[in-house]
């Protein structure tokens, strides 16, 4: 049920969506989840470890892999990790985190910042 897509993937050799590296991280997850399902603290530790070892760019690849494999728990896990990483952080930090470049016109960005000035209060400057 969960792994019907996985089976398809292994059957289809010319698959570019999921590279081998990702597969080794994503697929052991259900076993890990089952083992530490009851223990929340362990999950947090595991999440921290995973986050340390994985670069943000990798994280987006992992998300896509989990999505392709139709693996809801892994998808939720990775998305939550991304959300935790960017919550309450400044715009510059988040841009650096994802390697984004601002494509706004110079005036536009200023206008937006002014409009949403209240959302920048109390933010962590990294």
């Amino acid at each position: 049920m969960k792994f019907c897509t996985v089976k398809q993937y292994f059957d289809d050799e010319n698959n570019n969506n999921v590279t081998n590296g990702i597969a080794t991280t994503v697929i052991p997850l259900p076993n890990k989840h089952l083992k530490i399902k009851a223990n929340n603290k362990e999950m947090e530790q595991y999440e921290q470890e995973l986050l340390r070892n994985v670069m943000p760019q990798e994280l987006t690849k992992l998300i896509l892999a989990a999505n392709y494999l139709n693996f809801k728990e892994a998808l939720d896990f990775f998305c939550r990790t991304v959300a935790n990483a960017i919550q309450n952080k400044s715009v510059d930090y988040v841009r650096k985190f994802f390697g984004l470049e601002s494509d706004f016109e110079p005036g536009e960005e200023e206008k937006l910042c002014k409009e949403f000035a209240w959302s920048f209060e109390g933010v962590d400057e990294d």
Binding site: C79, I86, Q87, F98, L100, E101, S102, F104, L112, F120
Partner: protein, 469 residues
């Protein structure tokens, strides 16, 4: 090769499918975080505008802008979305400073959500805690009549005024319905195969409730003035029923229990008409009879009952309990102080009904402890089978050894005992002799001092009592 790999990875975030970016955003804890995503880049800005969850909570904006500016801000945000025309999944609105008069901006926002096929609609008007606590309705906001939709699955309404006749036709797909602190029409009749949860709490003007929902699992009702008639007999899948200050009779209860065969939890609080209750149910797991003042007698036959909660200020009802030996009973006995022999006998019998429970938790003011003392002084021990006892005292003027003496006389075969008072918690574990001394003469058994049976006493977290607190 490597260079390409790095560049490709760089803008991967913006190229994630939009639903996935929305999924990530749904894990962001505050609206501020969600709004900041819009400032990251042009692509993300438009992704934000199609984010299907809208949460306008005046309380979080109170420090930043006043009531009027908040409504303007909401109106503007919705206008920006009109172009994208994406369906909304969740729309939450919480307003606390309104004065009861209709506001076009609020009405428009509700209509906007409905036009965009909202699945979950949460409308909260007024300060919930103050209204609940002081039992007042305050200024209620009139729900616009144009709330006609067939897409809503979850609906939560607090602090509104409306007629059920206007609302119920839109509730075909609703699975979870909660209406609280609203002013409504007197008759609530619903027939739905989708309804799973129904909460009707403290609605002004509600008199009759008739629910025909075969898949309903959870039903709760409470009212400030107890004058509602309820019929939920046809809801055969009900598992949890909670009634607070509801005017149900003994017959109503018997009647309903015989039809609700899947019931697992039943909580009856302040049901002031119940006098003699007869609860006979195979599947019932949790039962609470709280503050049912007129309760005189309760016959409970529930082989699967796991926990029983009781609270009464005025009297000790006569309880006949036929349950498994795994039962945990929680008795809060406050305000009842027997002044004559008859009342004392009632108390003894009451306590005795729980003798075959596995564990018992008693909450007593110190005065009640003197009753237990009297029991020790001359009567048979009523709790011979009790293995785990937990006592919560309001005042702790007794020393631990004194308490232990009283309680062990009451239930000599205890394995664990936990005594909690306002400041301290003492946990004692007893290891009794492995074989129980069987006496044919039952009177003799009682005269065995509890000290004879104890092999070892382990006292955990024992704290020396302070002379002054």
């Amino acid at each position: 090769m490597e260079k390409d790999g790095v560049e490709e990875a760089f803008d991967r975030f913006s190229n994630l499918p939009v639903p996935i970016i929305h999924h990530i955003m749904s894990f962001l804890p505050t609206t501020k975080d969600v709004t900041r995503v819009a400032v990251l880049s042009k692509t993300l800005n438009s992704v934000c505008h199609s984010y299907p969850i809208l949460d306008f909570d005046q309380r979080s904006w109170k420090k930043i802008m006043g009531f009027d500016s908040f409504l303007d801000f909401m109106q503007k945000s919705l206008q920006q979305r009109r172009e994208s025309n994406i369906d909304i999944e969740i729309f939450k609105l919480c307003v606390i400073d309104h004065d009861g008069k209709s506001d076009q901006r609020i009405d428009e926002s509700i209509c906007f959500a409905i036009e965009h096929n909202v699945k979950r609609l949460d409308l909260r008007f007024g300060d919930y805690w103050i209204r609940s606590r002081y039992k007042v309705y305050g200024q209620l906001y009139t729900l616009p009549k144009t709330v006609t939709t067939k897409s809503i699955v979850v609906l939560n309404l607090v602090g509104l005024a409306f007629k059920f006749e206007d609302l119920i036709p839109s509730l075909n797909l609703v699975e979870h319905l909660s209406i609280e602190l609203c002013s409504v029409s007197s008759n609530f009749t619903i027939s739905s195969s989708k309804l799973k949860t129904l909460k009707l709490q403290n609605c002004k003007g509600l008199k009759t409730i008739v629910v025909d929902a075969v898949n309903l699992q959870y039903f709760s009702h409470s009212t400030f003035t107890s004058s509602s008639e309820i019929s939920i007999r046809d809801c055969k899948s009900l598992k949890n029923v909670m009634l607070d200050n509801t005017a149900i009779t003994d017959d109503w209860l018997k009647n309903h229990l015989s039809k609700l065969l899947l019931l697992e939890t039943l909580i009856l609080e302040s049901c002031k008409i119940l006098g003699e209750v007869d609860i006979c149910h195979q599947k019932l797991k949790h039962l609470a009879l709280l503050n049912c003042d007129k309760l005189v007698k309760a016959k409970i036959e529930a082989p699967n009952l796991v926990s029983f909660y009781f609270y009464n200020k005025s009297r000790f009802p006569v309880i006949t309990l036929q349950c498994s030996s795994q039962l945990y009973a929680d008795l809060i006995l406050v305000g009842i102080s027997p002044t004559n022999d008859e009342q004392f006998m009632n108390f003894k019998n009451f306590l005795g009904s729980f003798g075959h429970c596995k564990s018992l938790s008693l909450t007593l003011p110190d005065m009640e402890l003197s009753l237990l003392e009297e029991l020790r002084n001359g009567l048979r021990s009523p709790l011979l089978s009790l293995k785990h006892l937990r006592i919560q005292l309001f005042s702790s003027s007794r020393s631990l050894p004194e308490l232990l003496d009283i309680l062990l006389c009451l239930s000599p075969y205890l394995e664990t005992m936990c005594i909690t008072s306002k400041y301290k918690e003492n946990f004692v574990e007893f290891q009794n002799k492995a074989t129980l001394v069987e006496e044919e003469d039952s009177d003799f058994q009682w005269h065995y001092c509890w000290r004879h049976h104890l092999r070892k006493v382990i006292i955990d977290k024992f704290e020396v009592k302070l002379l002054r607190e």
